[in-house]
Structure formats: C-alpha cells, structure tokens
C-alpha cells in the first residue's frame, strides 16, 4: 500500500477509464438527469455515496462469504442483492431522518439501485484487487478509494454534460435533434475527447 498506487487509481478512475465516457457504464442516468446542473450534482453525490458504500460492502461479502465457500462465480447475483438491499435501506433511512436531504438526493436513489456503474465498480474491485482468490495487501483501502474515484469521475462527466446542455438549451438547433439526439451526439464527442487520456498509461 503506497501513495503512488492511490494516485494511479485516482487518475485512471476519473480520467483514463472514466466510468461513463470510457467504460460506458451508467449511461441511462447520464442522459436522463443531465439537463440542469443542480439535479445532476445531486445525482452525482448520490452515486458517489453509493459506489463508495457498495465497494466497502461487496469487499466484505467477497472476502468473507464468497471466497471461503468457493462461490466466486456467484458474485454478480450476490453483489446485486447486496447493493439493491443497501440502497433501499438508505432510501428509507434518509426519508425518515431528514426530509430535506431526501428531497435533495433521495429521489435519485431508486434510480441507482440497478445502475450498472455501481455493479461495475464492485466487479472491477474484485477483478483488480483479488489475485487467485486472495486479497492483495491493502485491497480494502484500494477498493474503497476506487469507489470514491469512480463516483468522482461520474460527477465530472455529469457536470460537464449538464453545463453543455444548459447552454445548448438556448441555441437554435434543428427540431429533429433537439433534446435527446443532441445529448447523444454531445456524449459521443465528449467520449472521443476522453480517449485522449489513453495516452498516459500506468
């Protein structure tokens, strides 16, 4: 466990393998909620929270349940089970504890329950930080940090996208590409520009 490893995780998760623009995960929320900056930010915070927490939980499930019982092939279904349960629980919890917070990002939580980006992080963590069914030294911290960084990458993409779409809302574009078609075009151009990061490999 060293600082260089953390830096590598940060740069690759946020820029080189950006969860949306390079890995193409979590696209539905990326297109649907990027119309304005404020909801986009709320959604991003919710995603960041869930990816971090699910990284932690799935690490424990994988390390102490799936590996001892030799059930690593069940990781997808068990991860989905854990994440969905966790998100549902958090939604109920926030709704009870703090209505303003629920209004700010609670309404986005059900959308995240089955978001592929969240499952993607969990699977990625397992692929990267477990070798031959053994945890790499410090893999728990790496996993947690990768969860945060993927959330950051998602936030970056959401903020860029919503900023662009807010401005384009005023522009005079042909009727046939207004709204979603235009969003797809922007997303692909942004994705192309993020390919530029592929130059630095670690």
């Amino acid at each position: 466990m060293n600082a260089a490893q953390f830096l590598t995780i940060f740069i690759s998760a946020v820029f080189i393998y950006n969860v949306i623009l390079s890995r193409f995960l979590g696209l539905c929320s990326f297109i649907a909620i990027s119309k304005e900056t404020k909801p986009a930010l709320a959604m991003s915070l919710a995603v960041m929270f869930v990816t971090t927490m699910s990284s932690i939980i799935t690490w424990f499930i994988y390390r102490f349940l799936l590996i001892p019982f030799n059930l690593t092939y069940l990781r997808t279904i068990s991860f989905i089970l854990v994440i969905a349960t966790f998100v549902q629980f958090v939604e109920m919890f926030i709704r009870k504890i703090s209505p303003p917070m629920y209004r700010f990002f609670g309404i986005y939580l059900p959308l995240i329950t089955v978001n592929c980006a969240v499952l993607g992080v969990a699977v990625l963590n397992v692929d990267m930080f477990f070798v031959n069914s053994k945890a790499v030294a410090g893999s728990f911290y790496y996993s947690t940090f990768q969860g945060i960084c993927v959330g950051l990458g998602y936030t970056l993409a959401m903020l860029l996208m919503s900023g662009i779409r807010e401005r384009l809302d005023l522009a005079n574009v042909p009727k046939s590409v207004k709204d979603f078609p235009l969003a797809f075009i922007i997303a692909s151009i942004m994705s192309l520009s993020f390919m530029g990061f592929n130059g630095f490999r670690f």
């Binding site: 349940l65 059930l71 069940l74 068990s78 349960t85 005023l170 005079n172």
Partner: protein, 272 residues
C-alpha cells in the same frame, strides 16, 4: 451435495436481507396523509408553479398543511377546486379570473429595427445584445419566447410579430410574465376592457421617433378620467385596475391611440 451450498448461501442471504428490509420499512415508516394522493390526482399536473409551490406535488402538500389555499392554483377548474375543498372539509373562496395582457402595440409594422439581428431567435438571447434589434428599447422583440413558454398554448404570434393571448386558454399562470425580458405582460382582471399598450419610459419626442402608438405622457387621459384611475408614472400612463370601471374616457381622448379596447377578446386601438 455440492449444489446445496450455493443454494443455501443465496437463500439465507436473500432471506436475511428481505427480513432486514421488512423490519426497516416498519421502523422507518413515514406516515403520509391518504388525502395527499387524492388531491394530487385532482390537480392538473402541469407543474407550472404558478401557485408558489414546487409543482403540483408540492402544492398538494402545502394545501394539506395549510400553507397555501386551494385558490392559489390558477389552472384548475372551479368544479375541481370545490371537490378538493370538500375533501379537506373547507370552503372555497372565489377569486376574480385574470388574463395576461401585453403592454406593447408596436410590432414590426410600427417599430423599425435599428440593426439586423442574426442570432438565436429568442427574446431572452436577443435582449442580451443591446436590448434586442427593435428601435424601441422598451417594446416587444417579437421572437415568441412567451409563446414557447406558455404551458397551455394560449399565446400565438400575429403577423405583426406581436403575441396574441387567447383568453379562453389563458390561466394567468404568470409564466409569460416571468420570462419576457422586457417585462411587457401583466395579469389583468378579465372584465377590464381598456389597457395601456405601451411600456416606454422615454420622453414624448423620443417615443414618437420610434413608434406611432407609443405613450407620449401628454396627461390627457389623466385629466379625462373622472375617477382618477389612470395616472402618468415615469412618462407612462398606468391604469389602476382596482379603481377602473371601464368608462372609456381615456380611450376616447388618447391622441396617439396608445390605449386599446378589448373587442371580442382582442385588443384593438382606434386605428386597427
């Protein structure tokens, strides 16, 4: 035997989580008023925000808590409002119906352009560039932003590039009032038949240079009105609709036909 382990593991995992969620949903249950859903079903669902609530859901919540009255919704029909009032066991107070009125009679026929605008055909965008291309800095730009923002399709653009309001469709939601960069709309009671169709605060000379029907602040209307319902404020005639009772004196006396009369739900001055 080997197949039993994964089956059991998943079953136990699922069971545990299921039970956990069931307990949590009991523990963290939030009580909601059953009337909320019913009220929400009765509301128009346009989420226009004219009531001051955050959409129809926010409005339903605030009429339940008593923050807003049912009357604040300008879109619902009276019958529907009475239904909601009955649901809450309250009585409905009646309110005068209002419509949006445009305070400009210029249009592209009377007001020239001072430069050719080639940007986005949107009043808000055009207004950012030196207040838009029209010679009158106070008048309607005519790119129809109000038409596009109207959730009820009550605004159309005339062949003079002036918005025309369909009084039957207008619900006085105030969206056009808010969006117009020149602040040309006000909400006027439906029964009032006269309106000042100008918004220019310039002096008379400057007004006549750019527009033939602009208010020159001659004060004839002010003197003609027997009940002082119309006053010149900052070089512009303004009717106080709390006082005005459709006497038409200002309309008859106006030398530049700024004051218009509503005939068959359309605003017309004497020249039209």
């Amino acid at each position: 035997m080997e197949i039993l382990i994964p089956i059991l593991t998943l079953a136990v995992l699922g069971l545990l989580f299921g039970m956990g969620l069931a307990v949590a949903s009991k523990r963290f249950a939030v009580k909601t008023d059953p009337r909320l859903e019913k009220i929400l079903g009765l509301l128009p669902g346009a989420n226009c925000g004219a009531c001051g609530g955050a959409g129809c859901f926010g409005f339903a919540e605030s009429i339940l808590s008593g923050k807003l009255s049912i009357d604040a919704c300008r879109v619902s029909e009276e019958a529907v409002k009475e239904q909601i009032a009955k649901l809450l066991g309250k009585k409905l107070e009646k309110r005068e119906k209002k419509v949006a009125v445009l305070h400009c009679h210029g249009g592209n026929r009377r007001v020239k352009e001072r430069f050719t605008y080639a940007g986005i055909r949107d009043c808000v965008a055009a207004n950012m560039l030196h207040g838009g291309p029209k010679a009158c800095a106070y008048g309607c730009i005519g790119y129809g932003t109000c038409m596009r923002v109207c959730p009820f399709g009550a605004i159309t653009m005339s062949n003079e590039d002036l918005p025309v309001i369909n009084e039957d469709k207008c619900t006085a939601c105030g969206k056009c009032v808010a969006v117009c960069p020149k602040k040309l709309f006000t909400l006027v009671p439906l029964t009032k038949m006269y309106a000042v169709r100008c918004n220019s605060l310039d002096f008379g000379k400057k007004v006549t240079e750019v527009c033939s029907v602009g208010c020159i602040a001659c004060r004839k209307c002010e003197k003609a009105c027997p009940i002082q319902a119309i006053k010149i404020i900052d070089n512009l005639a303004v009717i106080d609709y709390n006082i005005c009772d459709n006497r038409a004196e200002c309309f008859k006396v106006c030398p530049v036909d700024t004051i218009a009369q509503k005939i068959n739900k359309v605003w017309k001055n004497r020249l039209d």
